[in-house]
């Protein structure tokens, strides 16, 4: 049984694996964090605590699913669904291996950016419909943060697009045959990494949900599976950003032939997932205005300069 792009089996496998990986990351993150903080972490349920995720899932599924009477019901219910839908849709254009993927799209990069910009509605609507001052503060922060960092995310990718001459992620991977784009586009890589953390609003950029200041931010009023969708959505975003970095800057599935392409892809993406978790363990959260001025006054000029120099180099060679 051969896997090919766009067959029902491939789509089902990608969907299943991505969601299971995102759920398992809850356990992976807690274990890795505690490893770096010299404690044990969840190790009671099953071997190495592996079944912790199952226990969490049972808890979250059987919890009371409560909609506050003062909330705006329609937007309150669709907000957690939006983040799951847009992130899972983004996985459609990711080329996992030469024969594994959902679609081979000519507008792949733009499609991912479009989905990322739609993802902002999830946190905004969640906070706005909750009718709670902490939730509102959280979603205000989320809106400004996501709209701003989306800009640099897009511009930092343009260098890669210019070098490979295509918006197609599969062509971008194939263009890295001789050299990974991380070497000519190192600045673009760093900006994309920072913007990726901000877009998936993870620590150190989890200002929209900073629990010490504003309870849990935009999902203060959420419980049960609706909260679970925000929670898993965050890990799905982490997997997505790691896969994108792998595809755009680290040659995707390419690697020495002793391992199959999908293993190379998974290994590279896994390194970045671990790196994002390490970032969470190592860096404190900046203040909100610091985050915004850092973005607009430092990252924006830097990404424009990077694009300009890339253009000059391409034209002169």
């Amino acid at each position: 049984m051969a896997l090919e792009i766009g067959s029902g089996l491939t789509i089902g496998l990608i969907l299943g694996v991505v969601i299971v990986v995102a759920a398992m990351l809850i356990w992976v993150e807690r274990r890795l964090l505690s490893f770096w903080q010299e404690r044990l972490g969840p190790n009671r349920v099953g071997p190495f605590g592996l079944l912790q995720v199952v226990a969490d899932m049972i808890k979250i599924f059987t919890k009371e699913d409560w909609v506050p009477p003062f909330a705006d019901r329609l937007s309150f219910v669709i907000a957690p669904a939006i983040i799951m839908i847009v992130i899972l849709l983004s996985f459609a254009v990711i080329p996992f291996a030469p024969n594994i993927g959902v679609v081979d799209s000519n507008i792949g990069v733009l499609f991912v950016l479009a989905m990322a910009s739609l993802g902002a509605y999830s946190v905004m609507l969640g906070g706005l419909s909750s009718d709670n001052k902490y939730a509102l503060l959280g979603s205000l922060r989320a809106a400004a943060q996501m709209v701003s960092y989306e800009v640099f995310m897009g511009i930092s990718l343009l260098g890669v697009v210019a070098l490979s001459g295509s918006f197609n992620l599969r062509t971008i991977v194939e263009a890295q045959e001789g050299m990974w784009f991380v070497i000519p586009q190192f600045v673009g890589f760093v900006i994309f990494l920072i913007a990726g953390v901000a877009e998936s609003h993870r620590l150190p950029f989890d200002i929209p949900e900073a629990e010490q200041e504003i309870c849990a931010g935009y999902h203060t009023e959420y419980s049960g599976m609706k909260f679970g969708m925000f929670f898993v959505g965050e890990y799905l975003g982490l997997v997505l950003v790691s896969s994108l970095i792998t595809v755009l800057f680290f040659g995707g599935w390419m690697g020495p032939a002793f391992l199959p392409p999908i293993i190379w892809f998974a290994a590279k993406a896994g390194v970045f997932i671990a790196f994002f978790i390490l970032l969470r363990a190592a860096i404190p959260r900046p203040r909100y205005d610091q985050l915004m001025s850092y973005g607009w006054l430092f990252l924006l000029p830097l990404s424009l300069l990077n694009l300009l120099i890339t253009g000059v180099v391409i034209l002169s060679t």
């Binding site: 705006d72 937007s75 479009a114 910009s117 509102l136 205000l140 809106a143 709209v147």
Partner: protein
């Protein structure tokens, strides 16, 4: 493709109507986003994937987020819904309906003379860029000057 085109077109029209009659401002905005996204699908089915994805990024993704941001800042409560309901009487629809009907008649008149087949051409990123930086370069530059003026004035107002 044809089915998808008509389906997306129908969703666009219905959701735009819902924007007009909806009294809850957040719901109206959600319908507007839906309308813009279905217009993006219409563009895609007509063979313009680049225009489609830009519609999703710029209109549905960026501009509507700013609209929602402003609504959040204003914090409009229940009383705006009652106000809206008071404004939405049958009488207000008469003049706009006549004007829209005239426009529709003109549009149908023009469209009936054009013979256009679905999926005839495919305008990709390259074609759009070649046009923007070829014959339409002046328009692009003028638009960028307009945006710069807007940016400077917004900065000036915010500084006050």
């Amino acid at each position: 493709m044809t089915t998808l085109f008509y389906l997306a077109g129908a969703i666009a029209i219905l959701s735009t109507c819902a924007v007009i009659v909806q009294t809850n401002i957040v719901h109206a905005l959600l319908y507007l986003i839906l309308s813009l996204l279905s217009v993006a699908v219409v563009f895609y089915t007509l063979g313009a994937p680049f225009a489609a994805v830009l519609e999703a990024i710029v209109y549905a993704g960026a501009i509507m987020v700013l609209f929602l941001f402003v609504i959040m800042m204003l914090n409009m409560g229940q009383h705006t819904r009652q106000q809206e309901r008071g404004w939405l009487t049958a009488r207000v629809f008469i003049a706009p309906a006549i004007m829209a009907a005239l426009l529709l008649a003109q549009l149908l008149n023009v469209m009936s003379q054009v013979d256009y087949e679905l999926g005839l051409t495919r305008v990709g990123v390259l074609e759009v860029s070649a046009l923007l930086f070829g014959p339409y370069v002046l328009a692009v530059e003028l638009a960028s000057i307009l945006l710069l003026a807007g940016l400077v004035s917004a900065y000036h107002l915010a500084k006050k």
